[in-house]
Symmetry: C2
Subunit: 462 residues, 2 copies
């Protein structure tokens, strides 16, 4: 059976997102990010194109590594200003019926007790269409403003994340039994108190004795997304993630990452096919290859070199201003540079990867591949990517919004449908059911499901 | 000139809000609180009735003082389950043009750096129609789940609140100068970095060196609401609040509170008329007095005694289950009971205030007065309240939703308009401009305005 390709849209509550400078393009509307009409229109467009979801990235900080200053990021609106992603989702949910929504939220922003209530609320208001992209890190500039001297050491951070998730699971899955809410007007019982349980969590970082404040939502725990690729991050993803975001510019690296993460899922006792993988990707599409190429050239004229380097420097943690623009980076022995350059080199061994080449590559859509051509050309390439890597779908960054998505919905989706590799209607049900076809809730052996049994039992034997 | 009466609607992202048990009434729809359609319909109704705003209360905890258990609260849905208020506002803003929205948020939930971004985002998405009800306390059960052994001591809590607000003001007012955002496509400058300033806050509780993440919104700082009535709470309100919520059952107590708070404003160097006062109030209205009385009787049959006592015990911190239901509480020497009973007694000296009488009073709409009658009868009483107390308007709790608000919009508002004491159209502009008629921004001598000058100056001289 042909595997269907899945499409997510990737955006952020800011200007230009991964394509700094493109806000100067006359057709770009992403600088209207403060206006709900912009988001409503985008949500309707994506639902028309049968996208699985809209993913909203976030950073709680500013890109100030490049030239040791936030000036370049500010000038080019490189993910600054940046607003709260959470508040965009309910209005977009209200005007759609099927589109899923991915919220990016760092476990460092908020205590899990109020945060779990935000997740439940979101799942209620979207009628079970919400995912959570679990972020365990943030920009240094964000950490400083939260009063943290420096980021928690990397591996400890994942131990903290494990406990944070355990608190969320206990609240979302364990505290309120199925059937606790009765809404019985005759007997005058809204909730049966005997079926609501304090979670009695006593951990290293959190003490949460009480009950969850929200009644169970359709999915209880939102669909869990993760993007970690470090060794400890992969273990975390293998244990918790249902969907994984990757940002590999090369097929070889992507295939390797997917294999390794499926192995981690097996190691955690899970079915490796229970994970879906989405790679970052940017598409420039027009009726013909030549027109698409011309469109890309037009976009490139609006891209910002300093904006791209501000983002790249923030992502790698290395001030790329210290290297001459044309110095081949293969010779730079810094590890973060090497791993970036390695991925690029395997995708394009011909290119000499200099700072300028990196800025050129990442200037439109960020670190993922950029595919350019007619609908047929692009569809061919997507099939090659899928076959070569086992990837399940793509997380689509835009060059300019909403036009990049309009091109996909109007030109690419019909082509994919003709080839029988894209759905022609949404499946019914929650986001989780749409993605996996096995109901609304997380199931054993996922660690969340465990607490659905254990918390009520504990109360019974207490 | 006749002073106009102002109306706010008072609700919460839960069932029944201040009228526990009324969810069993066949016409009540508040148990649909998880459904955006319910909120959208409510917002449109209130805008039709020219309400100034919809105020969304919140608690991050459960009412577990009564009988030392959360059972009664759960059974009657007395403010539990309770969802996040923030997420309701953007969709309601999208379907309205003028209605204001008040967000209740405790300064204990979230660090001011991300919280200030939530406020900016909300003000952007509502186009300047948001207020913030600053809560400095919470239920003990909430504190325990945030890992705090006990609530911070009362006066220290206000010192913490002062610093929390200072950080918010610095971020919202000081960090981005007017005109910092240029959106200049020709010169390719989105933001002029020279006009964005790190706030360099070093305080007792917070260290926030950086810049605010959001560009300035229409109001910058949302309209500030406060409800503190303790001595230290009044000082805080006198310094910061633009609107004050009170919940006095008696005219004498209300008049006293308003006088005292205006004096606090003077003490803080502010114009006492720069504060607006809203008293909690519940209205039961029908075409005739007799019909209104019958409507109230019908409501009372659905009210829940144990639900009311769960709320009352939580508010006072005293388990009312320990007193015999008919014991006169005037003889109980506990201070919290005395101050509640005192207010009730001055409003109705005839009644013997027992636990049962308190439950009866507070069972519909909570601690504020309950006015019942035809539109003319109720309008007469509102005018008496206004003249006797100097109150600016009312914060209207519902018996059942949305019907209580429908009755107000359809029956009372036309009557008030006929009397010339209610607006016939919205004023243009932001919520602050609608309320005070002096522009969108806080002005000196309010402490927020100070930072709009000082932060940029500091950078210039650094």
């Amino acid at each position: 059976m042909t595997r269907l390709l899945r499409l997510n849209a990737f955006a952020m509550n800011c200007v230009g997102h991964q394509s700094p400078g493109l806000w100067t393009h006359p057709a770009d509307r992403s600088s209207h990010y403060k206006d709900l009409d912009y988001w409503i229109e985008l949500a309707r467009l994506l639902e028309r194109g049968l996208f699985d979801g809209l993913f909203i990235a976030d950073v709680l900080g500013v890109y100030d590594v490049y030239q040791d200053s936030s000036a370049a990021a500010l000038r080019q609106a490189a993910q600054i200003p940046v607003n709260d992603p959470l508040q965009l989702i309910p209005p977009m949910a209200w005007v759609t019926e099927h589109l899923g929504f991915g919220l990016t939220a760092s476990i460092s922003f908020e205590h899990p007790f109020p945060f779990a209530r935000r997740l439940s609320t979101l799942d209620h208001l979207t009628r079970g269409r919400v995912g959570w992209n679990i972020v365990t890190s943030y920009l240094e500039s964000g950490a400083r403003n939260l009063g943290l001297r420096q980021q928690v050491e990397h591996d400890t951070r994942y131990d903290y994340a494990d406990e944070y998730l355990e608190v969320c699971y206990k609240l979302l899955e364990g505290s309120w039994e199925e059937g606790a809410v009765q809404r019985d007007r005759e007997r005058r019982v809204f909730t049966d108190p005997a079926r609501v349980h304090p979670i009695r969590h006593q951990g290293r970082w959190f003490q949460v004795p009480g009950i969850h404040l929200s009644e169970p939502s359709i999915q209880r725990t939102p669909v869990l997304y993760q993007a970690g690729t470090s060794r400890r991050g992969r273990r975390f993803a293998g244990q918790h993630a249902e969907c994984v975001f990757l940002a590999s510019p090369s097929k070889a690296a992507l295939a390797r990452q997917i294999r390794s993460l499926r192995e981690e899922a097996v190691r955690a006792g899970r079915d490796p096919s229970a994970l879906l993988f989405f790679n970052l990707l940017t598409l420039v599409i027009a009726d013909t290859d030549a027109q698409a190429k011309a469109k890309l050239d037009d976009y490139r004229r609006h891209a910002s070199r300093e904006g791209a380097l501000a983002l790249m420097s923030g992502w790698t943690g290395i001030d790329l201003a210290i290297y001459p623009p044309d110095q081949p980076l293969q010779k730079v022995k810094t590890q973060a540079i090497q791993s970036a350059v390695e991925a690029f080199s395997s995708s394009d061994p011909e290119t000499e990867w200099t700072v300028d080449a990196l800025a050129h590559w990442a200037g439109i859509g960020g670190l993922g591949p950029l595919l350019v051509g007619s609908p047929a050309t692009v569809a061919d390439q997507l099939q090659v990517w899928q076959e070569a890597t086992g990837v399940d779908g793509f997380n689509l960054a835009y060059a300019i919004a909403p036009r990049s998505f309009e091109d996909i919905v109007e030109l690419l989706v019909p082509e994919l449908q003709r080839r029988g590799i894209y759905k022609t209607a949404y499946a019914p049900g929650s986001l989780r059911h749409k993605l996996f076809g096995q109901g609304d809730r997380l199931q054993s052996p996922h660690p969340a499901a465990h607490w659905r049994e254990v918390i009520p039992q504990r109360t019974a034997t207490a």
